[in-house]
């Protein structure tokens, strides 16, 4: 992990913002000033409560939404910069997405072959009909289905099978980077493992880089090299998977981690949950200063007045909290 600092990042997100106008002159800051980097070949986990902007962040990275401000550099190229249609198409081919709902993410009216070949058709990757079919069958076999499924329709498949079709569709254009937007949260636990193992196998075989969005912490720990924690549109902590679980710094991360059940009844009984007070505030009108202060057990007057900086407090361990801020911030917290 130490050499990661030297490696060239595949994805660089700098001060990314995505705001939605919600009428009445109000703005919903779904993603507000988020910066991080993803390195080639790694799995970057992104966790946070529902509605904290995880999915919006993922969709903004791939330009399904236009960024309000900030930059996304993919392999040195700006995804949101002004580009011709063909340039953008060539760039986005390398970034693909796996969706959350296996029932909504496949078009009911198309058969599996057409679904999987859609990206190949769009980019002209198959020269003729026979090659297209051959590629589709290969992809089906890669994800553990077979040639017989090519002429079927999505409603004939189970959730896990559909999710694998979705993975095959993303693989069809030979991407480098895959954004997995809660790919397992709609599946049964037994099927979740199947899909996660498939994703890991594909990563080994094809050297894929993942952005894995989820709210299931134990699964994220299992699959990710580094994890970013989001709260109300902002990133609050980012560290390697081991660091984050062994020594969470941000109070929000600490609370999240105590919510994971322990698979041992005796330990589980003694587990102390650190319950958060109140509900997630509305991102339309977020609290001043630190966004988390309304629910933070350590919040002081200082948190109300000043938003914490995003600092690398240990090597490769970033956090946005005054408790780990500059000298003056820490002093202000004690006061």
């Amino acid at each position: 992990m130490a050499e990661q600092g030297k490696k060239k990042p595949l994805v660089q997100v700098e001060g990314l913002k995505r705001h939605f106008q919600v009428g009445g002159g109000k703005t919903l800051k779904a993603v507000d000033d988020v910066s991080f980097e993803i390195y080639p070949g790694e799995t970057f986990g992104l966790v946070g409560e529902s509605g904290c902007g995880k999915s919006t962040l993922g969709r903004t990275l791939i330009r399904l939404y236009d960024a309000t401000d900030g930059k996304v550099l993919f392999d040195g190229e700006d995804v949101h910069g002004t580009k011709s249609k063909t340039e953008l198409k060539a760039l986005t081919r390398r970034i693909q997405m796996i969706f959350q709902d296996p029932y909504a993410s496949l078009n009911q009216r198309m058969n599996v072959e057409d679904i999987i070949a859609e990206g190949m058709d769009a980019h002209g990757l198959a020269k003729n009909r026979a090659e297209r079919t051959k590629r589709v069958v290969e992809l089906l076999e890669t994800v553990g289905l077979n040639a017989e499924h090519a002429k079927r329709f999505p409603h004939e498949f189970s959730g896990g099978q559909r999710q694998r079709i979705g993975i095959a569709r993303a693989l069809a254009v030979d991407p480098d980077f895959i954004i997995a937007d809660e790919p397992i949260s709609a599946l049964d636990v037994s099927i979740q493992a199947q899909v996660v193992n498939l994703l890991q196998k594909l990563q080994r075989e094809r050297g894929l880089t993942y952005l894995f969005i989820a709210h299931d912490l134990s699964m994220v720990k299992h699959i990710s090299d580094r994890i970013g924690v989001m709260y109300l549109g902002g990133m609050v902590e980012l560290a390697t998977s081991d660091d984050l679980f062994e020594e969470p710094l941000h109070p929000y991360t600490q609370a999240l981690l105590t919510a994971i059940p322990i698979p041992d009844p005796r330990l589980e009984r003694e587990r102390k949950r650190q319950l958060l007070q109140g509900d997630l505030p509305s991102p339309i009108d977020p609290p001043s200063g630190c966004r988390f202060r309304t629910r933070c057990p350590f919040a002081t007057e200082h948190c109300k007045n000043k938003a914490p900086e995003w600092r690398e407090v240990r090597p490769n361990h970033w956090v946005a909290c005054h408790l780990y801020g500059s000298e003056s911030d820490r002093a202000a917290m004690k006061a």
Partner: protein, 308 residues
């Protein structure tokens, strides 16, 4: 360690799992159209409706030629004749052959049906789709126009038009064209707005599919079921509107024949010559009920999720 199967009764043989066996789907593979057609055929009422409509259409085309009388030809020596070998459905107060008149009237009704369907499919679908896809200000203006059209009762528009223009089939068509497509436009707009945000459309965009391709491969195929069904329900109401206008005297005028005109004439002699009302009423009832039942059947057949 011994193989655990050795000690078991030889009658019990472990089932060998073929590779990929658990992923097998036993249902035969069918195309979307085959599948819908198969399910429509299973619906007896819908099949009967389809057959009845077929008969009605054939009779409307060839019916008037099967008898030697023309629908407008009067014969004062043969008024109010009962159904006979000569005049199959009898004659009216001017001795006109009722059989020829009924099928002539059915032609008008079916013409109205075709017009209503065409309006729905062309104007309604295009208007709704453009409104939903453009969004923003365009959508806003287009929706306000629709609201104005809906706000004014269509019957008033039709009656006013009838007073200005000649009472003929063309006027009825113009009157219906003003508001006939509004319902379809709203439905299509709502459906496309919903589909636009679905994950499979987002997936298509990340895969690099162009907007035109998204419209033709994703949006339209997913709206087509709803479009067909809505058309099937608009047709009977259009037929009824025409019949109603003719019945209250605002539609076609004699000697032209439409089912509404025939019912109006038959109604006046109901007590003495009931068959003058019975036959045209039967025809219009059959057409309307058949369209409705067929529409219902199509709704079930076209939705792949409705399968039992």
């Amino acid at each position: 360690m011994a193989n655990p199967t050795d000690s078991l009764d030889p009658l019990f043989v472990p089932v060998r799992r073929e590779n990929g066996e658990q992923e097998r789907i036993s249902r035969p593979a069918l195309s979307a159209f085959q599948d819908s057609w198969r399910r429509l055929r299973q619906n007896k009422a819908a099949v009967i409706s389809l057959i009845l409509l077929g008969i009605m259409i054939v009779l409307a085309i060839v019916g008037p030629w099967l008898t030697k009388y023309s629908y407008a030809q009067t014969n004062y020596s043969a008024v109010y004749q009962s159904p006979s070998a000569d005049h199959w459905f009898g004659t009216d107060k001017f001795g006109r052959d009722q059989w020829a008149r009924i099928w002539q009237g059915t032609r008008i009704s079916l013409l109205i049906a075709v017009l209503a369907a065409a309006l729905d499919l062309v104007v309604g679908v295009a208007y709704g789709a453009i409104s939903a896809l453009k969004g923003g200000k365009v959508d806003n203006v287009m929706q306000r126009i629709i609201e104005i059209l809906i706000g004014v009762p269509s019957l008033i528009i039709i009656i006013l038009l009838m007073m200005i223009m000649k009472a003929n089939i063309f006027t009825i068509m113009v009157a219906m064209s003003i508001t006939g497509w509004v319902g379809m436009a709203r439905l299509v707009r709502a459906q496309i707005l919903k589909l636009k945000q679905q994950e499979f459309v987002l997936a298509a965009r990340t895969l690099g599919t162009s907007n035109t391709q998204i419209i033709f491969k994703h949006l339209i195929p997913n709206t087509i079921g709803m479009i067909v069904i809505n058309t099937m329900f608009t047709i009977p109401s259009a037929i009824f509107t025409e019949a109603f206008l003719s019945f209250i005297g605002l539609g076609l005028q004699s000697p032209q024949a439409s089912l509404g005109v025939l019912i109006h004439d038959g109604f006046q002699t109901l007590s003495s010559h009931f068959y003058l009302l019975l036959f045209p009423a039967l025809v219009i009832v059959v057409i309307m009920v058949a369209f409705n039942i067929l529409g219902d059947g199509l709704r079930d057949a076209l939705d792949p999720r409705m399968r039992k």
